[in-house]
Amino acid sequence: MMESSAILLTFTLWVYVAGMAGALLFQRAERLANAVGFGLAALGGACGVVFSVSSLAAGQGMTITPVTLWSGPIPGVRFVVEADALSCFFVLVVSLVGLAISVFSLGYVRTYYGRKNVGVMACVFNALLLVTTLVFIAGNLWMFLIAWELMALLAYGMVSFEHEDRETRQAGVLFFIMSHLDAACVLLGFLVLAQAAGGFSFASFRGIGASLSPQQRDVAFVLFVFGFGIKAGIVPLHIWLPVAHPVAPSNISALMSGVLIKTGIYGLVRVCFEFLGPPPMWWGASLLAVGTVSAVLGVLYALMEHDLKRLLAYHSIENIGIILMGLGASLMFLHTGHAVLASLALIAGLYHTINHATFKALLFLGAGAVLHATHTRNMEEMGGLAKRMRWTALFFLVGAVAISALPPLNGFVSEWLTYQSLLHGFGTTTSLVRLMFPLGGAMLALTGALAAACFVKAFGITFLAQPRSDHARDAHEASLPMLIGQGVLTAACVFLGLFPTVFLKLLDPITLQLTGHQLSQQLTMANGLVLSGVAAQGGTVSTLGIMLMFGCLLPVPLALWAVFARKARTRIAPTWDCGQRALTPHMEYTATGFSKPLRMIFKALFRPRREVQREYDFSPYFATTLRFESHMEEVFLTRIYRPVNYGLLRLSRRLRALQAGSLQAYLIYIFVTLVALLLFAL
């Protein structure tokens, strides 16, 4: 590492450690613990951002030398840190989101004063940031795995922070089990590599795939996809994500959704692009297919939610799917030898990674502020918050427009890049697999449109119209630090949206390292104003241009206003209610109602069931009480996980017979095996 950036990196890590220590030290004085803990976390985040931006901006000048952080007592186990371009990019993601969330938490944790131990939360928060940064800059297998496990452990601690209600505890347990599953798969995968590489350092792993036999490489790839897939939350392995993220405190679920699932993406990119050597075609195709399925199913399930944070959690699955589409396409282009297209698809995937980190964290912080004000996650009890929480509403709207991939914000730019790579992908091969690209594009469009529908519902039902409960009626605006936290992320979204060409320069060293091409010049036109595809006349887009044009064309309606309607007055009146007495909040459209048409259209997937119990005294037509219940079948849970679960239980019940309960029986088992082994040894 260059001299100055090495110091900056170690300084960042030490700031986090200081944050942890400070938070624990001042546990008793909650206010102080909050200030010290999250203040230092914010400082750490800021340093992390400066470090990563400076080292990425340095580009080729960045020397990558592994640094031994600590060589433990056990010989052969050294904790090595090595920040190359890819690591710096992900450190930028974790630091930027960490900075914003820390500032947000300064205000948010005040609800926990007197109720929960804020010092512990701040300490674990710092630890989480520290450990996640270590995962990204891990130089060898030991560092990576230990940081990976610590991250899962700390995240578990935070998921079950409010362990009073059973739902949180169950979510925590499920999260823990799935984290260990993915840790196991990742470990096995790395062992396959280590066995070939001899050593455990990532440097020795680079390009090791070439020396592995094809079967071994495929096994390693499947193990890594499963391991990192669980952490990233791709569809068949996603069941823990919508359960764990909503129960965590909002700032933590923002960190988890924004950053922790990105460790899965980091792992996949590091392994597929660097370690496993030239990929066969089916790797990329499977990633693209899984990504498409995750994207579509993620958004479809999100549409059916009326719990705000579960909705956002499902959207994480959708966006991870989109990132995977970019990565899958890039792997396919690597196989067919189109390196330039591969780097374009990789840039699309990485750009969407940081985009998703920013706007998902922003939305979760918004949801946190709303939860903080209305004490409920259920959208059916909210409404009319736009007038009571003006700034939160504005920030949430920016997040919603960004996540729905609408111009001129960052979601649109990364999806535009993904479309470009999918479009040019069609011409790269002649085999039938090239049909996946346009179909992938169509499904991406479906995802984008459904995401827009979902966020019209989320924003509309939560912030607009009349408040549906007295919680929502007397909601109050979030405190200043919370708004600043959201403001930082909003600014990041707007910057990443309007100035993509500036940010693409930072991605150059990564694509140079992974696919050997620098694309920022090729993608930039008209000195930075316009972003273009790789093909000559391949089509360009300029979000900044669109904003400027909005400015230029605004005078048209204003002129019409001035010419025609100068004398027109505006009168505030009750909403038109067909002459009834008055519009009550119950007459408004609900979240369930909003998604009803889509539930009917996709009922094969959701299998909705509704029960109406009607009690009446004398005539069935005059019901005294009416109870309506509607359920949707959790298809993955009931079709895959539950049968596997019951199978395991049945098997273990059969094994219980071995547990005879008498000491002698157990000793006999041991003795018999001992003797058998000795006989075998003869």
Binding site: R569, R571, A573, P574, W576, D577, C578, G579, Q580, R581
Partner: protein, 265 residues
């Protein structure tokens, strides 16, 4: 198959909208008889046969005037025409009856044998609504006769759309209300709210005897005897129900789309 047959049929039939107001107005049905005309001179002061025979007491003998026929309350049953010995009240067969002011409907004075037809809107409103008028129809407890006749204007024969007049669903899009029915107590709130929901400048048109003065239900405790009790009315179209031609004539006259001179004939 279906598409060709429809198209061919439609093209063969061509345009079936009447030429009015460019061409001649369609003839009124014989039973209709058109507007009434009152010759106070021929009325025999002592007779009073018409006063008793009128079902809605539209005819009164105020002091100082031989007879006063209030067309707003008249349901055009023409009983008074048959029973009047001296033919003081006669039918004119003329469909034009819409007026701007309530008192114009009262006939019987020396100079007012017949209705003083409606003037067009003032210059500002005419410039605004002249080419594009959207009305919100409110049936305030009407018997659906006036509503049906107003609805007929939308059919291909009358085709109200060609004048830029349109009925809309939401009062927010409307420029005025077209009210039918005697405005019952139940509909009072709804009517007021609808009126409040229409953005200014707005006009109110009362169609039919009920909307003008309560029609056959006049004086009933559950009614407000027409819209004038609640809202400022810009155009009255008498009749029970008024012939579609009368309504159309009233609307066009209001918007100044008829080129013939208005005023007393």
């Amino acid at each position: 198959m279906f598409v060709q047959d429809t198209l061919l049929n439609r093209l063969k039939r061509g345009c079936e909208t009447m030429a009015y107001p460019k061409g001649a107005a369609p003839a009124l049905p014989d039973r209709h008889g058109g507007a009434l005309r009152v010759d106070a001179a021929r009325c025999d002061a002592k007779c009073g046969a018409c006063v008793t025979v009128c079902p809605t007491e539209a005819i009164a003998r105020p002091a100082g005037k031989p007879v006063a026929l209030d067309l707003g309350r008249c349901i055009f049953c023409a009983e008074c025409v048959t029973v009047c010995p001296t033919k003081a009240i006669t039918r004119t067969g003329d469909h034009r009856m819409a007026v701007r002011r309530r008192e114009d409907l009262v006939l019987g004075d020396a100079s007012k044998e017949q209705v003083r037809l409606a003037q067009a809107l003032d210059e500002k409103l005419r410039r605004l609504f002249g080419r594009s008028l959207r009305l919100r129809q409110v049936s305030a407890a009407g018997c659906n006769a006036c509503e049906a006749d107003t609805n007929v204007l939308g059919t291909i024969g009358w085709d109200l759309g060609r004048f830029g007049i349109q009925f809309v669903a939401s009062p927010r899009h409307a420029d005025g209300l077209l009210i039918t029915g005697p405005v019952s107590k139940n509909m009072e709130l709804a009517l007021k709210k609808t009126y409040a929901a229409v953005p200014d400048p707005k006009i109110v048109i009362a169609v039919g005897a009920c909307a003008i003065a309560g029609g056959p239900f006049i004086g009933h405790p559950q009614h407000h005897n027409g819209t004038s009790a609640l809202l400022p009315v810009d155009l009255y179209i008498p009749g029970c129900p008024p012939h579609p031609l009368t309504i159309l004539d009233g609307l066009l006259r209001l918007l100044g789309r008829l080129d013939e001179p208005t005023g007393i004939r």
